[in-house]
Symmetry: C2
C-alpha cells in the first residue's frame, strides 16, 4: 500500500468509525469542523480509491457508497513505524522518552499506559517462556 496523507487519514477515520459512507456524508462531517469545498473532499476520496484504501460498494441514483478496503490497525502500525524511522531513526526508546516528557499527558493517561504495559509484559512473558 502506498502511504496515506494527513487528509486521507482523516477521511479514513470516518470509514473506520462509521462504516459505509458517501461523498456528501464525508463532506458533511468535515465541513462541520472547518471550511472546505465539497470537491476537495471528493478529490481525497477519489485518491483513496486510487490507492486502494476505499472501494465502491454500491450506489443509489448518482450517489456512490464507499467502503474502507484497508484495516485500521495495520495502517496505523505502518504509519507509526514510518514515524519512528524518520523522527527517531528507528529507535523506539527515543519515542518512549519523548512521549513521557509530554506534559500534556494526564496521570490517567499514564495509568492507562501502565495497564497496557503490564498486560503486554504478562502475555509476552508467557509466550516466551
Amino acid at each position: 500500500m502506498q502511504e496515506l496523507s494527513t487528509f486521507e487519514l482523516e477521511v479514513m477515520h470516518f470509514f473506520w468509525e462509521e462504516g459505509d459512507l458517501t461523498g456528501p456524508d464525508v463532506y458533511q462531517r468535515i465541513a462541520d469542523q472547518r471550511d472546505v469545498a465539497y470537491t476537495t473532499v471528493k478529490t481525497i476520496i477519489d485518491r483513496l480509491e486510487g490507492k486502494g484504501a476505499l472501494k465502491r460498494h454500491r450506489s443509489y441514483g448518482r450517489t456512490i457508497v464507499y467502503r474502507a478496503a484497508i484495516q485500521r490497525g495495520s495502517t496505523k502500525m505502518r504509519h507509526l513505524r514510518r514515524f519512528i524511522d524518520s523522527v527517531f531513526r528507528g529507535d523506539s526508546r527515543e519515542l518512549f522518552t519523548t512521549l513521557l516528557h509530554d506534559d500534556q499527558l494526564s496521570l490517567d493517561d499514564l495509568g492507562y499506559l501502565e495497564s497496557l504495559l503490564v498486560q503486554k509484559r504478562h502475555d509476552k512473558d508467557e509466550k516466551e517462556r
Copy 2:
C-alpha cells in the same frame, strides 16, 4: 518554526549527535548508507538554513561549518504531537495501544518503558500532591 521533512530531520540528527559539521561531512555520512548526490545533501542543508534550523558558524577556505540552531527535544516533541494529531486524531491512548501491539518490541524495550513510566508517575504524583 516551520516543520522539517523526513530528509531534513535525518540531517539534523547528525548535528544533534555530532555537533558542528560541513556540507561534505554530512554528505559523507549519508552516502555511507545510500546513493545520493552531494548537491542533494547540500540543498537540504540550504533549506534547513532557510528554515532557521541550522546557522553558519564559521568557515575555513570555501568550506562552511554549520551548527544546529534548534533543539532536539522540542523538535521531536513537536513532531510527535503533530503525528498523534494526524494519525490518532490527537488521542495519545490510541498511540499507546498501537505501540504496545508492535511485535517488534522486545521484553527489554518493555522493561525500559516501564522504568520511565514508574519514574514519571512518581514525579508527577509528587508535583500534583
